[in-house]
Every structure is written in C-alpha cells, then in structure tokens.
Symmetry: C2
Subunit: 423 residues, 2 copies
C-alpha cells in the first residue's frame, strides 16, 4: 500500500516500528561504505597478472622499436592505442594515450580551452561560458566546470539519454560552449544514450563554433547484465554531418584494471588532436610507456580485455541484484522511491520523495553507512528537489552490501514517513 494513502495513526505506528529497527542497527556500530564507484578487492585481484606482465627479461621495445624505459613516444605506444581503438570502434590514429587518469585529461582539455581556446578560437578565459550538464550526473565533471568558473545548465536525463529537445534549444545560445556526458551506463543512472539520441547529438548545430562535448565513455565495455546495452559509435554518427570536431571522447582502464594506476586515452578528430598534440609537446615528454606496455602485454588485444570484463561482470551482477532486489522487497508499491535498473556501469540512481535525500543520507550515516552525499549528482551539489541519491554497489562485499541495503531501505522509509507526517 502506498504510504500516502495511509492515515496519520497508521503512519505513526509504522514509523515507531521502523525506528525500533533503526535503533537496533545503530547499536551494531556498522562501518559500511557505498560512497564511491570503486571496484572491490576480488575485482582488483583479476588484474594481478599485470605485476608480472613485464619482467626485467621481457622485450623493452614495442612495435615502434622505442625503448619503453626511456624518454619518447609522445602519444603513447601503438599497441595500447590499438586496443582502445578496437574497443571503442575508432581509428587508431585518433587515439592519444594519457596518464593513469581520464579525469585529468578532461580537466586539462577544459584548461586548454580556457587559455588557448578551441582550434585557434578565442580563449574562454574572461568570457561568459556555459556548459550543459545532464542531471543527475557525475560530480567530478561538475567539479571541473566549477573550478574554471563555468556556468552549469542542468538538462534532465530521460531513459533515452539527456533531453535532446532541451539541448537543441539551449545550444542556440552562443555562450553555451559544451556539455559533459557519460553516454553509456551513465553515472549515476546507468542510462545508455539511444541510437536516436546519438544521432541528434551528431546533428546538433550549436551557435558556438567552439562548442565541444566531453564524451566520457567511462563504461564503454562495462556490462553487468546478460542483456547489455549498445552505444552507437559517436564519430561515425558525426561523420554524416561533418560534426566530428564537436566530440572529445575519453576512456580509461580505471575499472578494467587498477583505478588510478591504469592507462587513459583521449579520442578526437584530426583537427582537435592537432591542438591537443601541440599542447602535449610542451607539457610532457611522454606518459608512462612501461605501464602502457604492461597493459598491452597482459591483455594482448581487445578480445582479451572483453574476456576480462566478463570476470568483472560475474562479480558485479550479484551486487546489482542485491540492490535491486532489496529495493523491490522493501520499497515497491509504497510510492516512496524509484530507481534505475542498469545493464552495466557502476551505479544505480535512486529517487526518494522530494526533500528527503539529505535526510536519508544523514540517517544512514548515523547508522554507520556512508553514501555519496545528497546533491552530489547535481551541479554545485544542489539537487533542487533534494531527492536523488547515487547508489554505488561495487566496493562492499555481498554480505556488507546486503546489510547496507537493509539500512538504506529502512532510512528511506523513515524519511518518507517523516515527510508525510510533516506535510
């Protein structure tokens, strides 16, 4: 029965009952953390072969005959560039490797736009610059924009991707210079842009000639369910409209091997890459080629990576199931929550009643469960309806996760009834 249909006395009784359960959890002094999208210990162990992928007696030159232990190869080893190219369906010539962080590549790209503009255009510094931000979205994208003083315009995420009607209208404003997005298994909703959304992105005609979409393909190969999503390749979609220059794609092996110690890449049109490569030549002599070779040697090729991703999926599927089953068991039919059911990625997006997200996160914290902060999925941490919470099920063990979900669902029920009683 939906809680909103219950009378006050029934709600008060229910709340007292839930409160007693909550008190019991508090007595347990739990220490559970679902705050960030981190792989679990058993996922990390899948990549321990990296430690012996290159040894002192391994070949120290790759296909380009360059010594990997010395300076050189500005854009990265071709072996690893090819693996990214094959996984993402792009041309290897359009792939440049970064260091261990695609976040850093995105930050640096925006930094480049600020001081040097886009492909010879006016630097963004000092101009009024706006970016479109599909919401709920990834807090670290918003962080980059905040750091550079770029105004963020929220755009609603629909089951097919961001609201393209809104985007097509907003890009008529020449101060709208770009958009950050996660096109496959979005953070936090796990939504994949539909083919039609990709098509509409490709045929956008922004007023700003220096409009750039940061296409953060963080979960391109991160299927969890047996019925994975497919994302239409963006550059081939753009090719029909000559809009390839609009896209700056990044990806990394953060959730393939070791987060923060992996290999990242940036993929862009020849014109954009010329600018990025030019900057790179002042910035660094080369990123860590040994780690690039280590990854290439461990996986051999893109097929090797996909086999590896199946092992991740086998670990992650039960965790996603625990979350979804707990939501169904405790919240279904009560009219107090809705959630996404992703086929991959690292997150589930949860909506609780308006005005309740902060209260839920706070109740959880008091009971020993750390969630991603309420509001984190919105620009400047401001969820105008205070209802969205990002659920990150990957890091805890299944046992911890089961317990965490009991606490979370309980806190959602409590916060929801409190709200009904106070309205």
């Amino acid at each position: 029965m939906e809680y909103k249909l219950m009378d006050r006395a029934a709600l008060e009784n229910k709340l007292a009952e839930l409160q007693a359960q909550y008190d019991a959890f508090e007595q347990m002094h739990l220490n559970l953390n679902m705050a960030r999208g981190k792989p679990s210990a058993d996922q990390l162990a899948l990549s321990d072969g990296l430690f012996r992928a290159i040894e002192a007696d391994s070949p120290m030159q790759g296909a380009d005959h360059m010594e990997i232990r010395n300076y050189g190869v500005l854009t990265g080893l071709v072996e690893m560039r090819q693996i990214f190219a094959d996984l993402l369906g792009v041309n290897v010539d359009n792939v440049i490797l970064g260091g261990s962080s695609s976040l850093n590549l995105m930050f640096d790209y925006i930094s480049q736009c600020m001081t040097h503009g886009v492909c010879g255009g006016t630097p963004w510094f000092g101009q009024e610059i706006k970016f479109l931000c599909p919401v709920p979205g990834y807090d670290r994208h918003f962080g980059i924009l905040q750091y550079f003083g770029i105004e963020m315009i929220p755009v609603e995420m629909l089951p097919t991707g961001p609201d393209m009607d809104a985007i097509e209208s907003l890009v008529q404003d020449p101060s709208v210079k770009g958009m950050f997005c996660v096109p496959k298994y979005s953070n936090p909703g796990g939504i994949t842009f539909s083919d039609e959304t990709v098509e509409r992105v490709a045929k956008l005609k922004p007023a700003a000639s220096d409009f750039r979409i940061i296409w953060d393909n963080a979960y391109a190969i991160h299927d969890v369910s047996d019925t994975p999503d497919t994302l239409r390749e963006i550059f081939s979609a753009c090719a029909q409209y000559g809009s390839e220059d609009m896209i700056i794609e990044v990806a990394s092996f953060a959730k393939v091997t070791f987060p923060g110690a992996c290999v990242s890449c940036i993929i862009a049109s020849d014109k954009n890459l010329a600018q990025i490569r030019g900057r790179l030549s002042y910035q660094i002599i080369n990123h860590d080629k040994i780690n690039q070779m280590r990854h290439a040697a461990f996986f051999k090729d893109a097929a090797g990576v996909l086999v590896h991703m199946k092992k991740h999926a086998a670990i992650l599927k039960p965790k996603f199931d625990i979350v979804l089953q707990a939501f169904e068991r405790h919240l279904q039919g009560k009219g107090i929550a809705s959630w996404t059911k992703p086929n991959g990625g690292y997150f589930i997006s949860l909506d609780v009643p308006d005005g309740c997200a902060k209260r839920v996160v706070s109740l959880c914290k008091q009971a020993g469960l750390i969630l991603t902060g309420a509001g984190a999925t919105y620009p400047l941490g401001n969820d105008p309806r205070d209802r969205n919470i990002r659920i990150a099920p990957t890091f805890p063990s299944t046992q911890e996760l089961s317990q965490a979900m009991e606490v979370l669902c309980l806190c959602i029920e409590i916060a929801s009834i409190e709200k009904l009683l106070n309205d």
Copy 2:
C-alpha cells in the same frame, strides 16, 4: 697557437687539412646522437629491479593502510614523499607527488597561475607577464613560457649561478612574475648556485607579490665527479626572510630510474601547497600509487637512492671525461671554444666563436652526428650570439661518444676557421 694569430695562408692550409678529415667522416655514414639528456642502456638496466619490486603477493597497502591498486591518496604515498623529503632536505608535509613527469608539474603550475592566479591573486591570463630566464638554459622551460605567451627576459649565467645583480634589479618590475631555474648542475652548464646566490635568491624583494621561482631541482643527487657540488637548501634559506612562498620546487626520478615512467614531486610552502592541493582535488583522484610503491620498495629509503646514484656516476664519469679530454686535446689553446667542467648533471655547455653555433651543428648533422639544435638553450631558440651548444654525453656508448667528439671538435675547428677567413 690561437687560430686568430695565424695568417690567412696558414688558416687556408689548415682548413683544407680539416676538410679532408671531414670528408673521410662523411664517407663513414655515421649515425650518432647527442641531442637529448637521456640515460644510456646500461644506466636503465640499473633499475630493472623495479620490475620485481612489487609482485602479486606483495603487500598492497603502505604505511597509510590504503590499497595501492584502488582509488585514493591524493598527494601520494608517504613512503615515497619521505624519500624525496630526505633527499632534498625538506619537510615531508611539504612534498606532494606528481605523475611520471616533473615537466608536467611545472607546466600545470604555470597553467594554474594563468587561470587562477597565485594564492588568491589576479589570474595572469590577459596580463603582461614576464619571466626571468637564466641563459643558457633548458629549452623545455622556455617552451612552457612560450606556450602561455609569457615574455622571457634572459639573464646571464655566471659560474656562481644567474647574475643576481641583474635579477635584483629586474624584479623591481611588477610585471616580472617569476623565474625558471635549475639550481644544481644546471642544464646545460652544469653550474650549481653558490651559497651566496641562494642567499640572494632567498632575500629577493620582488615588486610582484605573486612572483614565483620554479626551482627545478632535476639533478639534486646527480653527482658525476668525486668532488660533487653542494646546493644550499632553498626553503631553509628563505625561512630567514619569510620568503618561502616565493619558491616552487620540483624534482623527479627521471634520471634515477626510468625517464617518463618514474615518480615526480612538487615541494612548496603550506600556502602554495594549499592552492596546489585544492586544484589537484578537481584534477585527479590520485597519481599512480603502484609505481610510487614500486619505487619506495626498490630503494627502501633515501640512502638506498644515493647508493644507486653512485652506480650511475660510475657509468657517466668516463663519458664526461671523454668529452672534456677531447675538448682539451683538440681545442685547448686555439682560442675558438670554451666549455664548462661540471661535477654532475647531464650536460656540458660549449661556447664556440660568435656566429658559429648553427654552422657547427649543421656540419655535424651532415657528418651523421645529431646535436641539440643551436639556439635551443635560449628563449624562443634565439641565441643572440649564436655561440652556445648543449653537449649531452650520456646516451651514446663510450665508443660512439669518442667518435662523436672527434666529429664535433673537427666541425668546431672548421667553422671557426671559416669565420676567421670570412671576417
């Protein structure tokens, strides 16, 4: 006998004789490269223990109990920060680790100044900004300044470091916002700042409150000779004058382990680090902790690094000797060249007669020997006297180096006599 004292006929005879030798070299189709400061193959092999420094069954947590294979530890593992702190004589709290490149840290620091200013000051973007550049100097420093459109003011290097009289005067200009320098075993001169120079740097009173010195301590522990230089620690010198905020120090293990696959660090005052750390929190989740741990495990501590550096010195000393002995043998007393005699670092700075550096580099190239481009040691590649050449003796084998030096000295003689004949 000095060539300038010889009469025209004698010079012409000498030139013909040298030209015959040059022709013989040309016939040999040599392929020699002394362009960059790269360690040689046997130096790289010294660090091959890194490949087994961490294995799959090694402890995956450091002193801070953080899993090195997962996200976290923004400022780097304390084990590696401590090693840098001990080697450089600074407080570990003032050391933040970067990725595999200190060049990238310097580039990023200037980028930060451009868009965000220094510690709350006005961003440099759009202002007239000048930097002091001790010359001859490091081309990649000049490259960063060029990229950001910063005007470069050359300051002459003396045997004691940069001309401090000039610097004390130039910093009275409020548009002079900083200086790049290599205070120990400078690139290319191998000059170490004297204690008095360090003292005078520390007590500078620049007109610009956001004046910053990029103290690129690239060769802090890179002794070659048995009578190494010592550099006075800059932050303790500054402490007397309260000028610690003026210094941004960087260092790396590029020439300790593997160039481009090592660990770098940035060292600064609490106030500067607060700004850098703030930026870092938007920029990256963490740099590669596995590689940090690999380095810390391989060396154990600062003493372990110093033992390792002795092995580098044993390889490098004969190479520096080959260069210096060839110069003495072929050029001494002829009044056509002067060179530095460094106790460490990676380079020797050579001055040929005014207007001859490009000709020497070009003659060498034609005979199969690639040198660092003439002019590279000056801002915008412009050596106003066209006389300085950076000699990088580390990469070739001793046999190749001996041959390269024969070619180089011959080309210097030819160019010098050509000039005398044309004057």
